[in-house]
Structure formats: C-alpha cells, structure tokens
C-alpha cells in the first residue's frame, strides 16, 4: 500500500517490493552467522521495546516494576533486482521472547529453523510456532564440528515433522550452503502456496 499524497512530486521513482525470511532456532545455533553469510552488508541490529503485559512467560515476581522488555534482532539484506529486496531476520537472541513478537512473522514469506543435533529440543518452539501460524519452513541442521552426524530421516523423526517439510544439512558459515538453504525454502514456500490455492479452489 502506498501512502498516496497528492502533493508528492510527479514521476517519483517507484519503490521496490520488500519481502522477508526469518531465521529461527535456539540460542547460539548460528542464526546471525547465516544472515551474515548471505547478506550484502554486515548484519545490522535493531531493537524494539515491548511494553505489553502479555510477555507473560517471564516471571516478574520481585521485579513488578519492569514493564518493558527490549528485544534485539540481527538482519541482513539481499538486493535481488531493482524492484525486489529480500530481508533476512534472525529471531531475537532472547529466544523466550521472540515468538511473542508476531509482528516479525507477519508477512514473512517463509522461515529457516536452524537446528543443532546436540541440542535438538532448542528448535521445538520455533517449529511449533511456524506450524501453528502456517508459515512455510525448512529445517536446516547446522553441522558443528565434533557433533555426531545424524541421518536426515533420523532428524525428521526426532522432530516429528510433517513429511512435506524439507530437512537439510548446512554450514551456516558458508555462503553457498546458506544460499542452498534459502533456495530450498523458497521452492518449498512456492509449492505450499500452490497447494493451498488448489485446496481453496477445491480442485
């Protein structure tokens, strides 16, 4: 939606379309690393102050006067063309807060859930969240050195994923590997969208 102001200079350059992808997962799993691996700039950090009392999972006993929480997120940018810009947002470092921040997920074209096989449970909240919202996502297992390698079907079973959800191995430090994860996500998001449209049209 444009902000149409009648006194805007005529012939102003049309602004590009922006889309966003989220990179979620547990603390220290490599979210910012992945954003940095593919971003054309070094990852930037932005902060939002949450004032809702609904940040309810925080135990506020003893600090009742604290009514605001600051969540920080790192993000990067990939200019696809003159009229298309892709933003990648790593979900906030304070993982117990990020999923209350629905605004971040609103309008996201898809999400990458980064997993570490040594701490697989850390990515459960992200998976639950995207399943609940219907946001298309892929699970990318970040291969840390020294971590035992599991087969992808073992990871899929351990996470109790829908068979349609792509699971792949990656190295979040590597640009090529991170690109592959994003391409897989976009293909999955496109397929999901097609399937939903067919279902909605009843054929």
């Amino acid at each position: 939606m444009d902000y149409g102001h009648s006194d805007r200079p005529a012939g102003a350059t049309p602004l590009p379309t922006a889309i966003k992808i989220l990179v979620a997962g547990g603390f220290g799993v490599g979210k910012t690393t992945m954003v940095g691996a593919v971003s054309e700039t070094r990852p930037l950090r932005t902060e939002e102050v949450l004032t809702e009392s609904g940040v309810g999972i925080d135990d506020l006993s003893g600090v009742e006067s604290k009514t605001t929480t600051t969540v920080a997120m790192d993000f990067g940018r990939i200019t696809i063309s003159d009229d298309l810009v892709l933003y990648l947002f790593g979900t906030p470092g304070q993982d117990r807060f990020w999923f209350v921040w629905d605004e971040l997920a609103l309008g996201a074209i898809g999400a990458v859930v980064l997993a570490d096989t040594r701490r697989l449970a850390d990515c459960f909240p992200s998976i639950d969240y995207f399943e609940g919202r219907g946001t298309p996502f892929v699970v990318a297992v970040n291969c840390f050195e020294g971590a035992r390698q599991y087969r992808l079907d073992e990871v899929q079973a351990a996470l109790n994923l829908d068979p349609g959800v792509p699971v792949l191995l990656c190295d979040a430090r590597q640009r090529e590997s991170s690109k592959e994860v994003l391409v897989t996500l976009m293909e999955h998001a496109m397929k999901t969208r097609e399937a939903r449209r067919r279902a909605a049209n009843g054929n």
């Binding site: 902000y3 805007r8 298309l84 810009v85 309008g107």
Partner: protein, 128 residues
Amino acid sequence: MTVQGESAEQQWVDDHAGPVVRPYAVTRGRARPVTGTFDLISLVTATRAEVTPEIGIGPEHLAIVGLCQRIQSVAEIAAHLDLPVGTIRVLLGDLAARSLVQVREPQTTAGLPDNSIFEAVINGLRAL
C-alpha cells in the same frame, strides 16, 4: 553527528551510559505515529534532497531524510540511527504527514498474483 576528537563529554558519555536523549523524548512522548503503520520492511525514500528545519522537525527527522536519499527499510533506519523501531515509526509518521518521505508497505504472500516473485528470488539467490 560529527566526531570532534576526544572531548571531555565523550570520555564520560559512552555507550554504557545509555542514550543521552531517551527515545520518548525524541518523539516528544508520543508512542504512535500520526499516520501509517510502518512494517519493519516498509521501504522509505526521501522526497527531497534537503529539508529546512522547521517547528516539529528535529535532528532525528533530518537524519532520516539524509539516510533515505537511498531507499532504506524501517529496520535499517532504526539500526543506522541506533533508535528503537517504535521511535522511528513515530518520526516517519511526522515525515509522511508532511510528504517528506514516500513509503511502500511490503507485499503479503497472500496478495501475490503469481509465482513470479518466488521465481525471481530463487534465480537471484542462485546468481549471488
């Protein structure tokens, strides 16, 4: 902001001291923009090369206009000016109300007419 060497003030007021001017002071106490919603990835561009200071337009407004000579997202503006996104939204509302910036809200997936954006992103990523 210009750096003028190591002044006495800079020695004492570093990042750990927190912002010198609180975000709510920058917005003069306002929590909501006068106009617009401003998603994190709404794209903003200045409509003029320069803005003369006037009542209601502060240094932060001028900084945004300066930054938005190139297209920036709301998130990028917030990161570059080191202010919370909520503060930036209020300032952008002031600028939009005066037609000093042009804003484009992001496309939602549901609103996409076809797969062309997906295909463009996939091809663009492969070409990186």
